[in-house]
Amino acid sequence: MATETVLGVFAHVDTTVRALEELRARGYHDLTVYTPLPVHEIEEVLERDRPVSRVRLFTLFGGLTGIASAFLLTIWSSLVWGQVTGGKYLQLVPGGIIGSSLPPFFIIAFELMVLFGGLATVIGMVVLGRLPRWRPSPAYDRRFTNDRFGVAVHCAPERAASVHELLRAAGAEEVKSR
């Protein structure tokens, strides 16, 4: 189905919030909101029916990978190039790993947890935020990184006129179809 994008440009937070509330009340859920900074009031309206960002799963996965790889690296290295300390060295026996020196490996595990967790978090942000994008999306306007707020409504062409009216009534400075 063909859709049309109607963009409203706002100068104020309260008018943007009003427009969003109105749009949601009338059943428009396919919205993109552009803001120069994260605004609490706008997030409150948008986040109501959205699940929490999945970035945290990336962090969890990265952190666990870090811990696991740190223990693999340290234990494997100590098994292959064992250093006898106090008459003991790390060895693999049928019951598991025995030896005297596991605690220092926790330091390596901590560092790699942070490293892998941090990198995975950024990868998560990039993937979920659909970055990088080499071409600006059609509704984007340069003013949205300065001091204007944008509400882009993706709707059926026959409803575009009523969306225009709604955005204007809410206080948009400028309304246009893209």
Binding site: L46, S77, I107, S137
Partner: protein
């Protein structure tokens, strides 16, 4: 902590304009500084080349003083690197709003300081083109990787710290570079377009960005505290008198934050003056930083007292002899300089007028930096020079080569920082906007 809202209340557009202004082509003063720094850097490379050509004897270090100035300066720079991530991670989680105007510069400082520190193990190792000999994977050289050694922990801690600080810095920059992209034209616009990754500030992007930033801050918080703890264990795990102490981890972390904040002030005060950023870096920001320096300085004084007390109370005569030697003999001047700079000089910050006076803050910060460099010197040199066995005692005298390398490392750091302030927004556009009341048409904004 004080609320960071600006009283004169610049608008969102003002913030964009003022930050973009800092990226205008620089004047003669900037180039004069660049030339001075570049000259010093040339001296640094000449000294390093001399050391490579004629050998490690050019540096003043001799047995038993094999760590001497290089490791002193290495620890110093790692310590400086603490303030940035402390401001961007810990103060972020505490929602200390005064951090917003200084955090970008402090983060850049962190990365450059850790990069400068990273030079020293290479310089210290001598033939740095064989540095790969230290890598045990693949292990053709039959090394025994020892994960019980604090030096190995240090490698992991510092490389993680550098990576995560860099990632943090870049993530924070993305929305700001998008703002630069939208305000610029020509080749600058093309470069910024690439660096901004196509950031548009859509609700989806902000949603994941905010969550990712919070998670990064939570990961970086224990990291900040762990890095200098691990560096301190390089010393504390050894049996050398004056090093072998459980006090070292918090002692080093506190000292690192203390010196890091001093360096932030040394960089921010001229920036505030030359870029006319008084509307963003206000007196209350200076006041907050002054308080932090004062508190960390007092805690450091407490640690110095603890160090003396544990040594005297230890019943260990070698420990006591080492302390007595430090306080009274060859390097006593360095110890007393340190006590003056780190314990006495910051006390002036008890007065609010001193905390809000850029001149006083600048002088105190410089003294703190000198004091903190000497702290690392006092830990390394006198301790190694006077350990268990009189046969191994020895005095270290700096040589022109290692002195030039230490001074030159500052030029390396300042060159990177001077480059940064003209290429990237040194104030966070997004975070400064967050401290300004958002534009409302119909009602007063009531947070």
């Amino acid at each position: 902590m004080s609320d960071g809202r600006t009283t004169a209340s610049p608008t969102f557009a003002d913030v964009n304009r003022d930050v973009l202004r800092t990226l205008e082509p620089p004047g003669n003063l900037y180039f004069a500084w660049m030339c001075f720094v570049a000259l010093l850097l040339a001296g640094f490379f000449a000294a390093w080349a001399g050391q490579v050509w004629w050998g490690m004897g050019m540096a003043g270090k001799r047995v038993p003083q094999m760590w001497a100035m290089y490791i002193t300066t290495f620890v110093f720079w790692i310590g400086i690197g603490h303030a940035g991530t402390l401001i961007s991670a810990i103060l972020y989680l505490f929602r200390a709003r005064w951090r917003t105007s200084i955090y970008r510069g402090a983060e850049a400082m962190t990365i450059f300081a850790v990069m400068t520190a990273g030079l020293f193990p290479l310089i210290h190792a001598g033939r740095m083109w064989f540095a790969y000999f230290l890598l045990p994977y693949p292990n053709q050289r039959f090394l025994w990787p020892n994960f019980r050694s604090p030096l190995v922990w240090d490698v992991f801690a510092i490389s993680t710290y550098l990576s995560i600080s860099t990632v943090f810095f870049i993530v924070g920059l993305v929305p700001d570079i998008a703002a630069l992209r939208d305000a610029s034209t020509g080749w600058r616009r093309r470069i910024f377009s690439m660096l901004a990754l196509g950031w548009e500030g859509s609700d989806t992007q902000w949603r994941h960005y905010r969550r990712a930033y919070g998670l990064l801050a939570s990961l970086a918080t224990p990291l900040v505290l762990s890095v200098h703890s691990v560096v301190s264990w390089d010393f504390a795990m050894a049996l050398v008198p004056g090093w072998h102490s459980t006090l070292f981890a918090p002692f080093f972390v506190d000292g690192a934050i203390f010196s890091g904040f001093a360096m932030v002030l040394v960089l921010m005060l001229p920036m505030r003056h030359f870029f006319h950023l008084h509307a963003y870096i206000q007196e209350k920001h200076l006041d907050a930083m002054g308080k932090l320096i004062l508190v960390t300085g007092l805690v450091l004084t407490y640690f110095y007292l603890c160090e003396i007390f544990t040594s005297l109370y230890s019943g260990e005569h070698i420990e006591k002899a080492s302390l007595f030697w430090k306080v009274t003999a060859t390097y006593a001047w360095a110890l007393w300089t340190m006590y003056f700079c780190n314990c006495i000089a910051p006390l002036v910050l008890f007065w609010k007028r001193a905390r809000t006076s850029p001149v006083v803050l600048y002088v105190v910060s410089i003294l703190v930096l000198i004091g903190m460099w000497f702290e690392r010197f006092n830990i390394i040199v006198p301790s190694l020079g006077h350990d268990f066995y009189p046969y191994t005692w020895g005095i270290y005298y700096p040589s022109p080569t290692d002195t030039m390398i230490v001074i030159g490392s500052f030029s390396f750091f300042f060159l990177l920082f001077l480059g940064f302030i003209k290429l990237m927004p040194s104030l966070s556009i997004v975070e400064v906007k967050e401290t300004i009341p958002p534009p409302m048409r119909d009602r007063a904004h009531g947070h």
